[in-house]
């Protein structure tokens, strides 16, 4: 178990029992060419082109990049600038749905006959990125840097953010595809041992997952680890610490301690891509909070958030906020034209929070130090950032901050610490250039 973190009320009961529904594809989808970490994909279509469901519309533009596919069949209306959560904009392919859902030629492959490079190449071509939120291209993760070796694959089924239940439902309803995806990842990485990490509030999945594992392999190959329910248990570094008691070195990657971590839905997407030739064009997300009927939905990438919210019933007023992702690390948006992205794990509607307008002084209660899972000193870092002492921020390792929000959640003075740290990191990066 890792040190620090916070105990949160999980609010998962709201949507935990809701069976995944297929959300009908909207008349128009907006598919941004940059939904992932890295270089945006290069558009391959132009206005007026007819596209099929699953057709490649943006190609890989570098090593850390991803392919983009159409999530419907129809006609390209154009390539327009599209707002993204966080205030950026990016070119996006806008497609008018013809409602026919004509797919590209399906394939049927047995992954057991595939070599590692073949799997990685399929994953790259299928536009698969980490679906836990960070949207890091999966093919890059599957390519182990020279001189390093992966010993274990960890399947991250923690879903430690309150409210979200999409991964839970996927494990509950599609255990075979998830486990098969994990085995495919093991094959691609030539790893002999995998762990499935789930938080204790999802303990009811253990018998089901165990049964599923034994359908494929011996249950020593894939072990289920129930880890304590404590935020941010689902952070890669902290899951590794809890499952294997290894600490990813500062500035390093999980593979530095022999681990590679994948989200549940990423594993499922990899399985579908490898076995059925299906690129990443839809995902399961949770719509929850103040909506009238909370749901777990399978949504096409590119569906405007407004459509999804409308479907679940909510009045948009001044008194609510819309968050993409969970309440701790999700990004608030106020433009509901923003489409659902590969990394959108949920749409959360929360009531407005009354917080002080000016930054209140730190009373040095030390709660943030207890809460920081990276064992930093947020109180001091916050004071330095507030006074623009970027040198001191760097010295006190602000770069190690994972922006999990524990310090800010717990702070009695309601200081916007994460905000300050993001600012400090940006300033330090700027200075290094």
């Amino acid at each position: 178990m890792f040190q620090g973190g916070v105990k949160l009320v999980d609010f998962k009961e709201i949507s935990k029992g809701k069976v995944i529904e297929n959300f009908p594809a909207s008349e128009k989808v907006i598919i941004p060419l940059s939904q992932h970490t890295g270089i945006p994909s290069k558009p391959l279509v132009k206005k007026g082109d007819a596209v099929l469901k699953g057709q490649l519309i943006g190609e890989n533009a570098g090593f850390i990049s991803s392919a983009t596919h159409s999530s419907v069949s129809g006609t390209v209306i154009g390539i327009e600038n599209c707002p993204l959560p966080g205030g950026r904009t990016t070119p996006a392919v806008v497609i008018e749905n013809d409602g026919k859902d004509i797919p590209v030629e399906p394939v049927n492959r047995d992954w057991k006959n595939l070599k590692s490079e073949e799997i990685i190449s399929i994953v790259r071509d299928s536009g698969i990125v980490g679906m836990g939120g960070a949207a890091f291209p999966s093919a890059v993760k599957l390519t182990i840097p020279k001189g390093k070796k992966a010993e274990y694959v960890l399947l991250n089924g923690c879903e430690c953010e309150p409210f979200l239940t999409a991964d839970y439902r996927v494990m509950r309803e599609e255990p075979d595809r998830v486990v098969e995806g994990l085995l495919i990842i093991c094959r691609a990485l030539e790893v002999k041992k995998a762990y499935i990490g789930i938080e204790s509030n999802k303990r009811d999945l253990v018998p089901l997952l165990r049964e599923t594992i034994t359908k494929f392999v011996s249950d020593t190959t894939v072990e289920i680890k129930v880890v304590p329910e404590r935020y941010p248990q689902g952070s890669e570094k902290h899951l590794i610490k809890s499952v294997l008691n290894r600490e990813v070195p500062s500035g390093g990657l999980p593979v530095d301690v022999g681990c590679v971590v994948f989200n549940v839905q990423t594993a499922l997407a990899i399985r579908d891509a490898v076995c059925e030739g299906k690129p990443l064009i839809e995902r399961v997300l949770t719509v929850t909070g103040l909506v009238r009927s909370p749901k777990n939905l399978r949504v096409r990438i590119g569906t405007p958030v407004s459509k999804v919210i409308e479907y679940c019933g909510i009045e948009i007023t001044e008194k609510i906020k819309v968050i993409l992702g969970g309440p701790m690390m999700g990004i608030q948006i106020n433009n509901l034209d923003i489409p659902v992205l590969k990394g959108t794990s949920g749409i959360l509607i929360l009531p407005e929070e009354i917080l002080p307008e000016e930054i209140q002084p730190c009373i040095r209660c030390g709660k943030c130090i207890e809460a920081c899972p990276m064992l930093l000193v947020p109180a001091e870092l916050g004071r330095y950032a507030e006074n623009k002492r970027w040198d001191r921020c760097a010295e006190f390792n602000v770069a190690d901050c994972i922006e999990c929000g524990c310090c800010t959640y717990i702070c009695p003075a309601k200081r916007p610490l994460v905000d300050l740290f993001k600012w400090a990191k940006a300033e330090i990066r700027k200075a290094q250039k």
């Binding site: 309150p162 001044e318 509901l336 929070e353 309601k414 994460v418």
Partner: protein
Amino acid sequence: MGKGRDKKGAKMTEIRCSPHIHSRETTKSIMWSVIIALLPATFGSIYFFGPDALKLIIVCILSCYIGEVVSNLIFRRKLKSFDGSEVVTGLLLAFVLPPSFPLWMAGIGGFLAIFLVKELFGGIGFNIFNPALAARAILTVAYPLEMTQFTAPLSYRVDAITTATPLGILKEGLGETLPSLWQMFIGNRAGCLGETSILLLLIGAIFLLYRRIITWHIPLSYILTVAVITAVVGQNPLFHILAGGLVLGAFFMATDYVTSPITPKGKIIFGIGCGIITSLIRLKGSYPEGVAYSIIFMNMFVPLIDKYTMPKKFGYVKKI
């Protein structure tokens, strides 16, 4: 499309950085919890020392509030909402004054605690010294006689008698008999207003520990250090824990967030330091009591202690 509006033109709330939920604890709720924790001892002091105690408490709180208002006016700051920190300082100041202390002197103390000790150093979160204790130190120097005259408990009902505190008796050896340990535990002894009843202080302390507003680090290391040192020199450690302001100081003063170390390890060092200095003053100094000075003294070391007790960060282990 305007910022902050969706398609239908409905306004939405302003965008904020994550996290989007916050714990219910606020600076204000913490302050009021401390006030609640001090209530048993407050009532106890009124029981033992009568209306004088009540007047003193009211004057201290009011003067602290005046100090806050005056400094806000001088520094042209917006008047803060009443966050309760002035009440805490006022109560604690009253607690460390003798019951018969003149009210106008107490008023000066309360004003200085906030204006001089807290606000001139930058206000809440920035003061170096514990405001109540620093004000007490000023008053001790300014009015030495009034600060060392103690009335006997419950004597207000007949005729207020001046007497010595248990530590005073021990130091001066005036021939007066020491109260029993039980009397000292329930608070039936002479002393500063709020320090006498260990029982009532502990009730408040348990509340603060339970609410996780304070941690065990400082009080335990402080009290244990005093117990060990006094036991080593052959005195009764239990007497030293119950006498003077040790329990009040250890649970309610040394634990002041702003003026104590922020790391757990630092808190233990701070507590031990307070314990050593308290014992030294009590055993070797010219004052009978040393809690206030020891805490003020250790307050000065807080930045240094913090600097050397920063936690070992995640991911700074040897690579496997």
